[in-house]
Structure formats: C-alpha cells, structure tokens
Symmetry: C2
Subunit: 299 residues, 2 copies
C-alpha cells in the first residue's frame, strides 16, 4: 500500500463509511489482506490479544472503536460506557494497528435509517433474554462494519461466545466474504475474564467476582472425572456462584454449539456452559466449552 499511514507508527483515523470504503479498496488493490478487530473501545489486554491475532493473520490491521447505540436498551449503560479514544489509539498503535475506524453515531445511523438484521433463534436466548435488543444490534452493526472495512478476517473474543456464534452465522448466511476468528478468553491473574465493564465493580465485588471462573473450573473438573449430567453440572456451578454474597445470577445454562439449543440430560458432545452474573453495577459474562476435544484450542 502506498499510503504512508499504513506503514508508520501513527494510525490513520477514518471517520465515515465512505472514507472507510476508499481506504479498504486501496489496501485490497495493493494485494494486501485486512485483519479487523471491532470494539467499543476502552481497550484492555483482551482487546490487545485480538489485535495481535489480526496482525498475525493479515497485512493490515484495522481497529474499529464505536459504542454502538443499537445494542443497548434504554435502561442500559450506553451513556456511562467508558471511553478514552487517545489512550485506545496509543495502545492500538503499540500493537501495530495501522487504521482506526471511529465513525460518529450520526454517520452510522442517520435520519431515516431503517434496516434491521436479526437471527431470531440465536439472539433471543442466553443474554438475549434480559437484553432483547443486544444481538440484533450487534448483528446490525457488524454487518455495517464488515461492509465498510471489507476485512479478510474479523477477530472476536470468546468471552462473548454467543456474539461469536451470532456473527459467524450471519457472515455465513449473508455470504459475506470474510472469516470470523475466535480468541480464547483473556483473564486477570485471579481468573476473572477481562472486560471493559469490570471497572464498574467496587473492590469487594471485584474480589468476589472470581467465583465465576472458579465455578467453570469446577465444572471442567467434574466433566474430566466423568460427570455428564447437565442438571448436576449446572447445580454445581450455581451452587459455587451462590457462595459470593454480591453475586446475582442472570443465567447459567448449557447450550448446543453452534445453534444454541437447550441441552437436557446427558451431554455427549462439545456444549457451551455460559453464564451472566451481576456484581453491583457490572453484569459479567464467562463461559467454557465442556467436552471440547482439544482444551484451550481456538474455536
């Protein structure tokens, strides 16, 4: 690519879909591949892992930072969602990110906007029960971002496994020419999954939040020792989470992969154990794939 922006340490900031089209075409015309990491910003080490993976997969890394209003409900934390563009830009540049796509809400959802994207069977379960607007909003904004950025690879963290499955299904269904890549959860030293929302917790809540990862380890251990009964596994997990006084369980479920159908009775093949648990103002996610053939492998 001829543009100096792509080879210098300073990332080029693109702010409209039309400009993003031109930049993406320029990269593709030069025969280079695009690795894309869509985020809502306020980057943590989990995001940086995604950028590293994108850099490993592709010639040019594009990060998007867009706090997408359509995936929040009116009572959620859209206004409070943490933002720090300059810090994010510096972190992304340090990981070799060449382009940051940072569109305004007005350029993304201008007056007269109409188009909804939905995968009803996958978006109304798990997190979709308490957040009915969330995954339709995620599918919609990912369709827009993929069309604007024209990536060869889009890299997602598996902390939101449901999001990974929804986006993968949408890409397949709509014949989008890109590969969705999932990266294992990145954790703090005590096992808590990294999240921009962890900052919402008080120190006491933060300390108790470790029960999520502990409960997952208990389930994995039980499966390794031969337990196959979904109900007993769920009891084990819920029982351990309940030892944290601050924990308020939204859901703990076992679901099929990739269709997210309910799983009852005996588990026979890889299944998703997923949970959302509130600690004060933070709603935290965690998950694992039980009966996975290769532990810790990418999906």
């Amino acid at each position: 690519m001829e543009s100096s922006a792509v080879t210098s340490a300073s990332a080029r900031v693109v702010t409209t879909p039309a400009e993003m089209h031109r930049v993406a075409d320029e990269i593709r015309a030069a025969g280079l591949t695009i690795g894309f990491v869509p985020t809502m910003g306020y980057l943590h080490d989990g995001h940086l892992q995604l950028l590293r993976k994108a850099r490993e997969l592709a010639d040019v890394v594009i990060l998007s930072i867009f706090v997408n209003p359509t995936q929040f409900s009116a009572n959620e934390d859209l206004g409070a969602y943490p933002r720090d563009f300059e810090r994010d830009k510096a972190l992304a540049e340090a990981e070799g990110t060449q382009i940051i796509y940072n569109p305004s809400p007005e350029s993304m959802y201008p007056e007269g906007f109409q188009t909804q994207v939905n995968l009803p069977g996958m978006t109304n379960v798990l997190c979709g029960v308490s957040r009915p607007h969330h995954f339709p909003g995620v599918a919609q904004v990912c369709a827009k971002l993929f069309n604007a950025v024209k990536p060869h690879f889009a890299v997602f963290g598996l902390k939101d496994f449901q999001q990974y499955l929804v986006v993968t299904q949408m890409v397949k269904d709509l014949d989008m020419d890109l590969k969705v890549v999932g990266i294992p959860i990145v954790r703090e030293k005590d096992g808590l999954a990294m999240s921009s929302r962890n900052v919402y917790m008080t120190p006491a809540e933060r300390e108790q939040a470790v029960v999520l990862n502990q409960s997952i380890k208990l389930a994995e251990k039980a499966v390794a020792e031969g337990e196959r009964d979904a109900a007993r596994l769920l009891d084990l997990v819920r029982g351990h989470i309940a030892t944290a006084p601050a924990a308020d369980i939204d859901y703990v479920e076992i679901r099929s992969i990739p269709g997210l159908a309910t799983v009852e009775g005996r588990i026979e093949k890889p299944v998703l154990l997923a949970m959302a648990v509130k600690f004060g103002k933070a709603r935290l996610l965690d998950n694992t794939v039980l009966l996975r053939e290769q532990p810790n492998a990418n999906v």
Copy 2:
C-alpha cells in the same frame, strides 16, 4: 481480466457463493468494475434493458438468475414461476453478459440458516400488505447477492418502485459499497409494463390490462393540468381501472419518496403513484412518479 470466460461470447456460469467471491475478486483485482443485474430469470425486454445499462456503467456484467423462495409466501406462485435457463443464458450472452450467477436454493439457504433482514417501515406498506414476506425476502436475498457478487453498480427496474426504494435504503443503511441504479419501466406497444408474470393472463385479461398504464396517463395529464388533490387523483385512477371487468384492485396509492409515508390532501413535491391489480392469475404492478421534475428521467 485474464480469464477467457469474461471476454468470450459464452457466459461463465457460477453456482455457489464461494465461487462467486473468487470470480468477483479476480475481476476487481484486475481493476475492472462490475455491473450487476439480479433477476429471477425468464428474461424479457425489460431485463435486457437492465443488462444494457449495466454494460454501459461497468466493465463486466454479471446477471443472477435465482428464483428466491424466501420472497414468496406459501400460497404464492413459487412452484409455477416460469423458468428457462438456456433461453435466459442465450439472451444474456447476446447482451454481452460475461457471468451468470445461478446458485441453487440449497447453497443459498442451507440447513441452519438464520439471518433475517428487514426494513419494517418500508416493507409492510403497498405490496407488503398482501405480501408480508416479500420485501424482507427481497432485502435478504439482495444482501446475499451483493455480498457474493461484489458489484460497483446494481441495476433494478422501476416497475417495482418499492423494491428499488427498499434495496436502495438497505444498501445505504448497511454501508454497502455499491450504487443502486433504477431504470424506467419498459412497456409493451400498448403500454402494459413488461413482466414475467404477464404470461399468466388469458388473451381477454391481457387486453384489459392496458387500463393500468392508461390510468397512469390520466393521472399524469390531470397533474399537468393543475390537479394536486391526492384523493381526486386516486378516484380518477381507480375509476378508470374499474372499467375493466377482469380487474381486481389490490391497491392504488400515493406515497412519499423515499420513505413511502402516506400522502393525504395536496401533493406538493414528487410522489409515487403505485398500483397492484389482479387480472386472473396475474398480479400486475405499475407506477409513476407524479410531479417529477424531469419526466422520464432515471431516478
């Protein structure tokens, strides 16, 4: 482009989304532009005009032939829809079409397919009232076709003006990098708008169907003479259609452009006069833009 398929008179037939991606990338990598005409086949002169326009706009013309099941309801004419691939191919080749995208229903909607695309405010009016699945199916298949074919231009006939507006809005909303081009209605000598469904009519019905275009001319004449009252214009149109005994009006409406909102009272700027009328087994569409600044100009 190096592929001989693109420069020979015989069109290359592509049958899967994955192959279409590779062919589109090959064309784009050669620096050529793609003009795309999506159809359900059984080509008539109206389609050929679309192919001519695509050829005028772009280096490579791609025609898709796909009778899309998701835009038909259970009680509609999916099974009966006329098909003749070899005839279509020969007609398209004679117009310089280099590639025909002819995917199977199984490759377009494999088991586990989930993703819906909808523009609720525009898809549930006019033809959307009696055909609630139609425009969501059109939006869905056009998203898929555009993602597979990667065109610079997509050419649509304005006989289905609502379809043109829905597709244009979707392309804008989802940040798809292509231009939707609308081509004026192509008519038989007696004024009937060309349609693959005209073959469903008996000779007597076919003769009476001319009232649609006649009623449009009456409305245009009335507007030219100063009439601005929407209700009186609709009465004029409906009254003329009612002179045909075989005519069974589905709707005759005046709507805003591009939002398709209802228009009542005085018309002040360009508005859509649109109608759907059944003649026996054929449900025929016709329309015009009243108060258009430049008569007969492309939209």
